[in-house]
């Protein structure tokens, strides 16, 4: 899906668990998520830690949108 959106010139950050898969389907900006059942959270964490985790990953994804890339790139997040 992301590929078709990017084809129209809109930059896309794909946030997913399977970075390897995202690369195979041609994603260019990627951020690693936590797991399949809870991509942007973790029920085992405290609400504060979970919020920090989610905002950190989303922030990495936003920053990726504003960053030029030349090839498939994984953007790290702090948490």
């Amino acid at each position: 899906m992301g590929k078709e959106i990017e084809r129209t010139g809109i930059p896309v950050t794909v946030m997913c668990n399977l970075i390897d898969v995202a690369k195979t389907v041609g994603s260019n900006r990627m951020v690693q998520t936590v797991s399949v059942p809870y991509p942007l959270g973790d029920p085992e964490l405290s609400p504060e830690a979970e919020w920090q985790l989610r905002t950190s990953r989303v922030e990495a994804a936003l920053n990726a949108l504003a960053t030029p890339v030349e090839e498939p790139t994984v953007f790290p997040s702090k948490f």
Binding site: M1, G2, K3, E4, I5, E6, R7, T8, G9, I10, P11, V12, T13, V14, M15, C16, N17, A22, K23, T24, V25, G26, N28, R29, T33, V36, P37, Y38, P39, L40, G41, P43, W51, R54, T55, R57, V58, E59, A61, L62, L65, A66, T67, P68, V69, E70, E71
Partner: protein, 348 residues
């Protein structure tokens, strides 16, 4: 069973390039190579009609050409549709592809054609039709028509159809399970491949992994603080009543939901319908799947201009590439028309 055959202006004997704008002509008496095809198809199949159309007409005026051809076919009874062979002729190949795809979609009958591997019609239409591997030029006519007719007869007689490589058509992007042709156990096949690979001998993998299609990276957003950013997701997070009845697996549609008045996706108002994992954690906090709360936070901070008023969602599991590409195109058009600057796509 009855069949109808499509050929171009050249093979109908009307003329070459100068007649390529010929509009469709319908013959109740077979002409050109239709006669050879019919002779080979007997007695299981009768080719009843030849349709002739100029290559330029069908490729440049597709809509009109199909309209005229459909008007004719609607009055006919047929169980198989043939086109070509098109050999190396590029526009003829594309024309055969166009008509085969359209006939298959409208009449749900098997569509059979033939092209040389270098014909651009192969790449574009191999998923839509049985395209048999053909020769480079018309001297291969008999050789190319033969497997088309033989395959059609198998279909007419209800015989078991073999894999593409054995039948001789280009793979259509469909993989199915079969008994191992030699009955050899997998462990023995592994050993055979392993020893060949170790010894640098040629070996044939049972699953060819294609190289990926690359899309050049889109230019970055110039100023995030002025950008409208949309959330798109394959997490299956939808309003609890799943108003668009999106399927939990092998989804065939997507939905879009307005979030203009929301700061997050509350439990009980949204849930995930994704069947590929334990949904408890995402149903309890749907923002774990589509992080609207975090996006609002960055919107309030002024880091981004605006979260787009709608989010787009489908279910990723078991969804075919064809559907995923279709969803992507449809959603991309909406986002583009709405002036969205960038997208965050969350998948599972």
């Amino acid at each position: 069973m009855k069949a109808i055959h499509y050929i171009n202006q050249f093979f109908a004997g009307i003329g070459g390039e100068e007649m390529a704008d010929q509009t469709p002509v319908f013959h109740d008496k077979l002409i050109g190579c239709s006669m050879m095809l019919n002779a080979m198809c007997k007695p299981d199949i009768e080719v009843t009609n030849t349709i002739v159309c100029g290559d330029n007409y069908i490729t440049n005026h597709t809509e009109e050409a199909l309209k005229e051809i459909f008007a004719f076919l609607d009055t006919k009874e047929f169980g198989i549709f043939f086109a070509g062979p098109a050999f190396m002729a590029g526009r003829y190949g594309v024309g055969c592809g166009i008509i085969c795809k359209a006939v298959s979609e409208r009449y749900h009958v098997p569509v059979i054609t033939s092209m040389n591997e270098e014909n651009p019609g192969v790449e574009e239409y191999k998923a839509a039709a049985y395209i048999f591997k053909g020769g480079r030029k018309a001297t291969f006519m008999k050789q190319d028509v033969t497997p088309m007719a033989a395959f059609a007869k198998k279909i007419a007689k209800g015989e078991k159809l073999l894999p593409a490589a054995q039948e001789g058509y280009f793979p259509r992007g469909i993989r199915m399970e079969i008994p191992q042709p030699d009955g050899i156990m997998a462990a023995d096949r592994v050993i055979d491949m392993l020893l060949k690979k170790i010894n640098g001998e040629p070996f044939q993998t049972e699953l060819i992994i294609p190289s990926m299609e690359k899309i050049p990276p889109a230019a970055p957003v110039k100023d995030l603080s002025k950008a409208t950013i949309a959330l798109v997701s394959s997490s299956g997070v939808v309003p609890v009543d799943n108003p668009d009845r999106i399927q939990s697996a092998s989804a065939q549609k997507w939905g879009k939901y307005n979030i203009a008045d929301r700061d997050n996706l509350p439990e009980g108002v949204y849930k995930t319908i994704h069947a590929g994992f334990d949904p408890a954690a995402m149903c309890a906090v749907p923002d774990r799947g589509i992080p609207l709360d975090a996006m609002r936070y960055f919107e309030k901070q002024g880091k981004i201009g605006k979260v787009y008023d709608w989010f787009y969602v489908t279910v990723g599991t078991g969804t075919t590439q064809a559907f995923a590409a279709k969803f992507g195109k449809e959603i991309a058009k909406e986002l583009h028309d709405a002036g969205v600057d960038a997208v965050i796509l969350t998948s599972t």
